[in-house]
């Protein structure tokens, strides 16, 4: 058995309507499970970049890349290596915080380099950008507070 690991794949696609549906459809059809997927613009208005994170073994990764590259709208597809690429994710998290909690959360946020982006009477919203591990760690710390809601974007990535 090959080890199952996290793989980050970058796909350059023609910026046509329906491309995302084709990719999602293909992954669904072949039983590949997407951890996260982001679509973003590139310097070329005709081309979009889709960054996909999947947990799978090497065989499945190869299949998935070959199948995806068969789509007419796929221009290029390549895996991104953790050591030679930059991975970033954005987290927004709303925490219940009365006056007594504000400074505590502020302190935690500072340690992680997160920013307080909103302050309301009973809550605060904190923003953090970083590698997924850092976001995971920050969220673990925040578990002890009362998280009202949260949202993370999934990985966007570039080779160095």
């Amino acid at each position: 058995m090959q080890p199952v690991k996290r793989n980050v794949i970058s796909v350059l696609v023609k910026n046509h309507s329906g491309v995302l549906a084709r990719i999602a459809n293909l992954f669904c059809q072949r039983g590949y499970n997407i951890d996260s997927l982001t679509v973003s613009a590139t310097t070329d208005a005709e081309i979009s970049r889709i960054t996909i994170v999947v947990h799978c073994d090497q065989d499945m990764l190869e299949q998935l890349m070959k199948q995806t590259s068969k789509l007419q709208e796929t221009i290029d597809i390549f895996p991104l290596d953790e050591n030679t690429s930059l991975f970033r994710e954005l987290l927004l998290v709303k925490i219940r915080a009365d006056e007594t909690m504000r400074s505590i959360i502020h302190e935690v946020a500072n340690i992680y380099g997160a920013h307080i982006v909103d302050l309301s009477v009973g809550s605060m919203v904190v923003e953090l950008t970083g590698i997924p591990n850092k976001i995971d760690a920050f969220l673990t710390v925040l578990q002890q507070y009362d998280i009202i809601e949260m949202c993370r974007t999934g990985i966007t990535a570039l080779a160095r």
Binding site: G18, Q63, Q72
Partner: protein
Amino acid sequence: MKLTGAQILAEVLIEQGATTVFGYPGGAVLNIYDALYENRDRIKHIMTAHEQGAAHAADGYARATGKTGVVIATSGPGATNLVTGIATAYMDSVPMVAITGNVSTNLIGRDSFQEVYIAGITMSVTKHNYIVHHVEDLADILREAFKIANTGRKGPVLVDIPKDITAAKCEFTDKLPIIDHPSYSIDNDILNNISDEINNAKRPVLLFGGGIISSESSQELTELIEKSNIPTCHTIMGTGVLSYDHPLNMGMVGMHGQLTSGYAMEKSDLIIAIGMRFSDRVALNTKKFANNAKIIHVDIDASEINKNVHIDYSVVSDAKYFLNKILPKINQQDRFEWMEQINTWQKNDYKPIDSDKILKPHQVMDTISSMAGEDAIIVTDVGQHQIWAAQYYRRTKPRSFLTSGGLGTMGFGYGAAIGAKVAVGDLRKVIHITGDGSFHMNLNEVCTAVSYNLPIITVIMNNTVLGMVRQWQKIFYNSRFSSTSPNRKTDYVKLAEAFGAKGFRTNSPDEFKEAFNTALNANCPCIIDCSINKDENVLPMIPAGGTIDDVITQWD
């Protein structure tokens, strides 16, 4: 010159050489059918009884000729009725362009009458599909659709055209069809490694599939196996490439393959697999598949390499290109010992028992082979009759055995036979071999054969049951025959007559010969009901997931 979208469609069809199309009219394609009427002397349109039949006909036309088959249907139900036909073509890599009308652009997304999102529905059963948003894009989209359908690994492409686009006008310029020959290159080291393996192998087996037909390389394949004396077997999609009686042809491999093929795969030290994809009907147990052999895999589709079976040497290439490159590097050999072993297996291979009183499936196939002639095209449906035809019909040429191998579509046969007959005209006989189950699925298309006077001969292997499913129930479900004995009372002779065709009922080999002979000379669609025993099994049979060691050769 300004033309409407519908006129542009007609012009591009002619430009692409698609002067025979299959289809069914409807509201959203009124403009298209008006343009077809205008061009009726340049484009032959065959109207079927049902869009599924039209899709299978376009598919059969493509399989028989290698040209891209074209089917046209209206929006909504017209489009959804194509889906099985498109999926059938997709699974067997058959080039097809499906054109669907849709409601006008301003009605899309509003659940309008006969609106369906066919591009979404067919996304996973087409190589690509398009929705045309601007009439200016139509001509080039259609050209690209033809190119994609018939390039690389072939397959269906769908173009969805909203009704207003078929009416809108724009400038149209003729273009010559692009004949795209993708370039392949094979590393010389890999070629040398492969030729060394072949030259040094003691017990090589060549295994091929439909890729040899798609790449028109049966001649090169024959040269290779004859030069190096390599015993050869094939998947159901490769049926017809090698002459049935060729001494190196061991026959089909897999679930219902010859025992010889199965033993040879197991004992082989080198499998050379070309233009095939190790489906679960061939490599039933991927873990134990050809465990004593190294495997060379040549396929045009990179995603087939290492998909189901782990490969030692792989080449992504058109089969013909590969064969031409490898041939000069292959030494002549006689492989005396290996051939002797193969011959011993062949002598002891499974042989069904003959009868001169009742109709036996293998004898029916044999009679058809003898009487229909070498040029005949056999089209099957799906089930027991399909495998009997694959096992026993003595075909001699590629593109002469048309069957739904991948999707296994019951009801494929009649439509496909119509497409094949339209393609080959009076030159060749088209024999449709079916079962009573499959025939009931799309027998409506007999009316089409009558309308266009297509003398297709249908041979129904009538066992009154859904034989293949029933066989599995018999073997694996302790004879609990759930919904496989429909108790139908269809009178096929009367049915044929009601449609305007000729019908025959046969119960013995002599009756069958007489009826088949009459049908061959009838010059109209004929249906021959062959009464066979419902307990006839398709043998040999390797159960799903098994190996040749699990093969069943007898079951009462």
